[in-house]
Amino acid sequence: MSASATRLFQRERLAENILHFCRVLRAAGLPVGPAKVIAALEAVETVGIEQREDFRAALESVLIERHDQQTLFAQAFELFWRNPRLIERMMELLLPKVYGRTPRTEAEAPLPARLAEALAPPRDADREACDQETTLDAAFTFSPREVLQSKDFESMTTAELAEVKAMIARLRLPLPELPIRRSMAANRGTEVDLRATLRAMASARGAVVPLAWRRRRRRPPPLVVLCDISGSMDRYARMLLFFLHAITNDRDRVHTLLFGTRLTNITRHLRRRDVDVALERVSAAVSDWAGGTRIGACLAEFNRRWSRRLLAQGAVVLLISDGLDSDVGHGLSAEMERLAKSCRRLIWLNPLLRYDRFEARPAGIRAMLPYVDDFLPVHNLESLKQVAAVFAQPRSLRRRAEMDFELGRRAA
């Protein structure tokens, strides 16, 4: 290690530049460790720097691991190796000694948010919170993370939002697995595996052989997410989209639809692995951002056009909405009933539930509440984690959330 480290620093400008380039990538969220930096140096040495394309391909082949990292790499490469002024600036920024001295200048081209952050770390007081490398190090960011977890999405600064974004990306929803009609070989199975047993018998020359067993496989049910993006949900919607992107790419059979005044299926867009590319496509596809809400009409459209296609195999539905309906619950209750009856479990996530004195007053909420199985808050990271916990606990009987909610209120 020390030999390679000295070798690394003996290289002059190019080596230094590559090192800084790697640090930029790391700051932007790519997993670029020291081993990769060394590999990058070796690759560049082997290929040479005469041809820009070769140089780029050499770096790319060493530094990225997945297709979705390609976009970010391409942007970073263009910025870093074309604009010398930017390099200098960035080098100043990244060297700890000159930290904070540099004035923040505007880059010529609009930078993608992650790169911009990587190139210019925040200069304000809460720098301690964000360590100079934005990659989250458990040892250093433990306490700020705790703070962030209970903070409302609505009151977060940009820096905090960025950090929450990174945490959400690692959040997993442990849906309870359901038995399916397929089986697998298992030592303590429930069905006799005749085929395996017979094969054993044949090779045991007809002697007595122990039975081979199989048991049912299990797999998580499909998940359908219906997310409200009307004006009243606007502030949460951004965070929720990161959440949706994370859970859509976590497993197969996740379908996501957004609704405000109309319903849009954004599953295909969210399948893009790179979160920025995915959200760009989503915003291009959706035309009713931050407008009114017609929950009843949108649910009706879902029930008619999508429910038979998406809810067929015991799907769990996640409805994210504040329940404030500008149609004032017109036809809402009937559509909710149909939705509840055609899915395995209906979970309503409502950001308004964070208020202690929340009461199911608005007509929309009253119309929807009787049909949901779980009614949970969704306004900060902690509540998103709670959602994950609810998924993990199996329920044999559908318990109506309204009952829980009323009981909880009475107890309080």
Partner: protein, 307 residues
């Protein structure tokens, strides 16, 4: 009795009609191409629009054996492709034991032979029947899960099944494959890519009338026209499940059984269960709506009846 494959789209139309299936030209073209190019035909559409029927009619019209694979969740190779006959294998082992012949190699190669193989639909479809490849109907593919779809990819690409103990079994002549889906979930693009896709829509009034006249010959000409006009109007309404052709035929038969010669609002209300299968939809046809629809249907039937 085997009929040669039709030579053009018109021949397909004529052949299907001869066997009581009134296809529109688009469907006939897809069928013709599927036969000509040897590609599977992928039919998607609402329930009851005659997707399954096309495979049955094709088998009948071409004089081929129809092999039907009804899909369901968890469908596996044991019920779709082949299975070993375990009881017989066990007896074979016991017999060998009783005779004192316990040569291990011979026994293993003896019990895993074609004699003990139970052929399920897909394997059956790879074999010729009377010298001709059968029609393989894979019905409601959307009901299975993704692993079976993935398995099907191999079968559809190579028309070949691999049995570990026996080796690969390949079709001498690929079967005529018809796949149907009700779209309760999207079938993977990889399957669709290998097939000719056709969306089976509700029929036009004219075609539906021809179907009703052919399939329910007992119905009065005027009643048939009214039934078709009424159903076509229902489909234009905002219903959860629009009635398919199967429902129209059921309803026409129900009306014949009740000895009706024309529609009236009361009969409609009493027999609506043959057409609509959701309580909400039935509830949407209030007496007023029913009266109005019947009046419109009668007017239309009248207009067509007196040219």
């Amino acid at each position: 009795m085997t009929t040669p494959l039709p030579a053009n789209v018109d021949a397909v139309l004529a052949l299907l009609e001869q066997h009581d299936y009134f296809a529109d030209r688009r469907l006939a073209t897809s069928v013709f191409l599927a036969l000509k190019m040897g590609r599977p035909l992928f039919l998607e559409g609402e329930a009851g629009v005659g997707k399954t029927e096309i495979a049955k009619v094709l088998a009948r019209a071409l004089g081929r054996l129809l092999v039907r694979l009804q899909c369901y969740e968890g469908l596996d190779t044991a019920s779709a492709v082949y299975e070993w006959n375990y009881p017989r294998q066990m007896i074979e082992i016991r017999l060998a034991e009783a005779q004192g012949k316990v040569d291990r190699e011979a026994l293993a190669s003896n019990i895993f032979t074609e004699r003990f193989l139970i052929r399920r639909p897909i394997l059956q479809a790879l074999e010729r029947n009377n010298g001709f490849a059968p029609v393989l109907l894979i019905d409601e593919l959307d009901r299975t899960d993704e692993p079976f779809e993935a398995y099907l990819l191999e079968v559809l690409a190579e028309y070949q099944v691999t049995i570990p103990e026996l080796g690969a079994i390949k079709a001498i002549e690929p079967p005529i494959v018809v796949i149907t889906s009700n779209r309760t979930r999207e079938i993977h693009d990889a399957i669709k890519r290998r097939c000719l896709y056709h969306w089976v829509d509700f029929p036009s009034a004219q075609r539906e009338l021809a179907i009703v006249r052919r399939k329910v010959p007992g119905a009065d000409a005027r009643l048939s026209r009214e039934v078709v006009a009424f159903t076509q109007r229902l489909r234009a309404m905002d219903l959860f499940k629009s009635p398919g052709i199967a429902e129209t035929l059921d309803w026409a038969e129900a009306l014949v059984a009740l000895d009706r010669l024309a529609l009236d609002p009361e009969t409609v209300a009493n027999t609506l269960g043959a057409l609509l299968k959701y309580q909400d939809d039935i509830g949407a046809i209030t007496p007023q709506v029913a009266t109005q629809l019947v009046a419109e249907a009668r007017a239309e039937a009248e207009a067509v009846g007196t040219p």
